[in-house]
Amino acid sequence: MIENIKEPTDRAIIHAIFAKLDPVGMIISTALVFGLGLMFLTLALVVQGRSGDIPIGPHLAFLGDYLPGYRVTWSGGFLGFVYGGMIGGVVGYFISLLWNLSHYFYLALIVSRIHYFSE
């Protein structure tokens, strides 16, 4: 628990609290997770196969409305990896941007007073 740790310095706290997210790191890792995720969702249905007259993954197939060429098939799974990666990359970048931006804004307001501080 927090009470048990040794007294931290201001610097350690501030470095930890106001640390930035690396945008490229976020883009790649989120893209990977989204891409693999959509591929897994697709291929899991493909592997299970058709059940009676119901087509494979009718709901997931709706994604084809938004992602041209996407289907719940083997090839669709790999295309889903690409699409998922693209969307994940954008989401990852957006999150890192917002995270860094919100911290900069917060710090900017705090730091702005420094400008008026020296006498």
Partner: protein, 706 residues
């Protein structure tokens, strides 16, 4: 205190991550809905899939209105999810900070100086829990509303989560499985992110810098006789520390008073500082020294400051609420856009930071730069920000202690009294600090010679100086000393020391410019003008850049309760159009601006004024200043036994407390302690736990020896 700071910081970050996730989720759902609306118009009968979300998000459907509702619901759920994630990350943080202190290994905490390291385990637990909770709640929503058997869409999840059903038991099984799945995915995510960041291994620009440890200074052989040039705060502090430890000291001051820029002028029953200096330092040892020195004379003053911009007053410290109230949400949005723009320009396209404008814009974006920095800065320096060095921004930040400011800002949210908003002040004006030091120096049997301007310094060999000065009676005299402490402007020192410098040094020394200051004290038959301790004026049309009301600092600054005064600072350069105005012309323009543009006074309330002109007030950090300082410093470094200190002496923007600390540390250095006074006013020493070597005593106690 720091534990409280840590908690406050975690709370703030929890809110910020909630904001980030809320906005991301809200915008995602908004965008997906709008895209569906547009495509559905082109292909009727399709793009209805998102309508299913209406079961869980009241009012939501695939429509324009639904898009806004979707934004709302997405933001709410995202914010909750973000809070949960940061709550989990905080566990990591605490553990990492604890191990950081145990191992003294900063790499354990962060990737590089400023980049977040993601701990997959804790993040996985948080996201897993969040996802499982979401599935549990949404499934049981269907169960409770009695539509479980019709929820074929939800039931399809069993394709991925074996055993999942739209039932209470099914939701428990599904949630457990989802937890494991999400946990594993997050581990993958964290692993990938950390690997990529480690491979990139580069620092992301930050408002504060990580500094490596510096080598320990080598102790000097103690001096026998020290001649100090200038009786400002730095020179007197050195003399004070040396005198109280038995070293012979001679202080030479060209003016008829001590204090330098920390002068308090007495005029017609009024007292006023040149600009209003406060005592503020986070160094508690220095505060103790100050309390001892000024025993019985200290009063506490509340800091109430405002900033005047675009006809409006912004409270200090600036808050989101205040800015939005005064400028409107659109200005803030515009500020956000300009920040993104500058982020791309400086951090993505890697445009170099060449000057002060770039430095401010990189950190705050162009809109905030224009609002809060540009006008006042250009007024102070008399140059466009494009012609000033970016170093000023970092130096000013370091000079204040960004760490403290951030801590104050965060902890203040729990109503902790902020040091920043209260300061100590000598009841009879700031000059009492230098006066007290001078009294102690003289009391120790040493000399403080006024009206004694230095003419020449002759270096006769290692630690052997002759200092020639014009004495009070007009004759030239000299002092012999084995050490010299110079607080006179660095460029002037280089020109009067012998052996003379070479042409390159002379050229650099002569081009080290200072900004000058005209201070106007208006005496008013009025009880009070405002409650401000300072008012900063970001308006090109006003002749002055800052004002303060001495009576708000100390009642002793005015002759009686029925009167007050206002001190106005006019930033200028000797021989420029402002400086060339007569005292009365300047004062009248100040009265006009105060009465007509600000409405602070009526003309008939003005009973008189005092105008003081001060040279060498602020070292000008032009684009080549660093090179000039290096050249001159290298030259001065050739004279063993010569030390520099103070604002002018080091060409560094010291506050009064910096100068005093620098002087005290220099005194200790000359006494043979292993300290480096030039580290004052750099973040490294000024803001962290003091790491000064020396005697085991209260840092600035009665004796520096033993």
């Amino acid at each position: 205190m720091n534990q409280e700071f840590l908690r406050a910081a975690i709370r703030i970050n929890t809110k910020l991550l909630a904001l980030v996730f809320g906005l991301t989720s809200g915008l995602l759902l908004f965008t997906a809905t709008i895209v569906s609306v547009v495509l559905r118009a082109l292909h009727p009968g399709h793009y209805e899939f998102l309508n299913l979300l209406g079961v869980f998000l009241p009012g939501y459907d695939v429509s324009v209105t639904g898009a806004f509702l979707g934004f709302f619901w997405g933001a709410v759920i995202g914010a909750l999810f973000g809070s949960l994630i940061y709550w989990a990350y905080a566990r990591t943080l605490r553990e990492k900070i604890a191990s950081y202190f145990a191992l003294e290994d900063p790499d354990n905490l962060l990737q590089g100086p400023q980049t977040l390291k993601i701990e997959g385990h804790y993040l996985g637990v948080a996201t897993g829990l969040g996802s499982a909770l979401l599935l549990f709640l949404s499934t049981n929503t269907l169960v409770i509303r009695g539509t479980a058997q019709f929820s074929v869409n939800a039931a399809l999840l069993s394709n991925y989560l074996p055993g999942y059903q739209v039932s209470f038991v099914g939701s428990l099984i599904g949630s457990a499985e989802l937890f494991v799945l999400v946990y594993l995915i997050t581990i993958l995510f964290g692993f990938t992110y950390n690997k990529v960041v480690a491979l990139r291994n580069r620092d992301i620009p930050s408002l504060f810098d990580y500094e490596p440890a510096r080598p320990k200074p080598i102790p000097l052989k103690p001096a026998d006789h020290v001649c100090i040039l200038g009786a400002g705060p730095a020179g007197l502090a050195t003399g004070h520390e040396l005198s109280l430890n038995g070293t012979k000291v001679t202080v030479l001051e060209k003016n008829s008073y001590v204090g330098g820029l920390c002068r308090t002028v007495h005029s017609k029953g009024y007292k006023f500082d040149l600009g209003g200096h406060r005592w503020f330092t986070q160094n508690e040892s220095l505060n103790n020294w100050f309390r001892r020195l000024m025993e019985g004379e200290i009063i506490l003053v509340n800091r109430i400051s405002r900033i005047y911009y675009d006809g409006k007053y912004f409270n200090y410290p600036i808050t989101f609420g205040d800015v939005i109230k005064n400028t409107g949400i659109f200005t803030m949005l515009w500020a956000g856009i300009t920040y993104i723009q500058s982020f791309i320009v400086f951090n993505v396209l890697n445009r170099p930071v060449k000057n002060m404008k770039d430095a401010y814009t990189q950190q705050f974006g162009s809109k905030l730069y224009e609002m809060f920095f540009k006008i006042y800065t250009e007024k102070v320096w008399g140059l466009p920000c494009e012609q000033l060095s970016a170093d000023w921004v970092t130096q000013r930040s370091k000079g204040l202690n960004i760490l403290t400011v951030i801590r104050e800002a965060l902890v203040k949210s729990r109503n902790v009294v902020s040091l920043v908003e209260e300061f100590m002040y000598p009841r009879d004006g700031y000059v009492r600090i230098p006066e007290r030091m001078a009294e102690d120096i003289v009391g120790a049997g040493n000399e403080v010679l006024l009206n004694s301007g230095v003419k020449k310094i002759i270096y006769k060999g290692t630690r052997d100086f002759e200092i020639v000065y014009r004495s009070q009676d007009g004759t030239e005299r000299s002092v012999h000393a084995d050490s010299v402490v110079s607080t006179i402007p660095m460029g002037i020192l280089a020109q009067i020391i012998e052996p003379a410098c070479e042409e390159k040094v002379l050229k650099a020394a002569k081009s080290m410019e200072f900004r000058d200051l005209i201070t106007v004290n208006l005496m008013l038959k009025k009880k009070q003008v405002s409650t401000d301790t300072w008012l900063y004026l970001q308006d090109k049309n006003l002749i002055f850049g800052r004002l303060h009301e001495p009576k708000n600092w100390s009642p002793a600054m005015v002759p009686d309760e029925a009167h007050t005064s206002v001190v106005l600072e006019v930033f200028c350069t000797i021989n420029d159009p402002l400086w060339s105005l007569s005292d009365d012309e300047i004062a009248i323009r100040c009265v006009d601006d105060l009465a007509d543009k600000l409405g602070f006074i009526e003309r008939h309330e003005v009973e008189g004024w005092t105008v003081i002109r001060t040279g060498h007030a602020y070292p000008v950090y032009d684009l080549d200043y660093h090179n000039k300082v290096s050249i001159v410093t290298e030259f001065l470094g050739r004279f063993e036994g010569l030390h520099i200190a103070g604002r002018g002496g080091t060409f560094r923007y010291n506050n009064a407390d910096h100068s005093i600390e620098m002087g005290l540390m220099l005194g200790r250095k000359i006494l043979g302690q292993p300290v480096d006074h030039m580290q004052v006013n750099t973040e490294h020493t000024y803001h962290e736990e003091k790491s000064l070597e020396g005697p085991k005593r209260d840092h600035y106690g009665q004796s520096a020896v033993g």
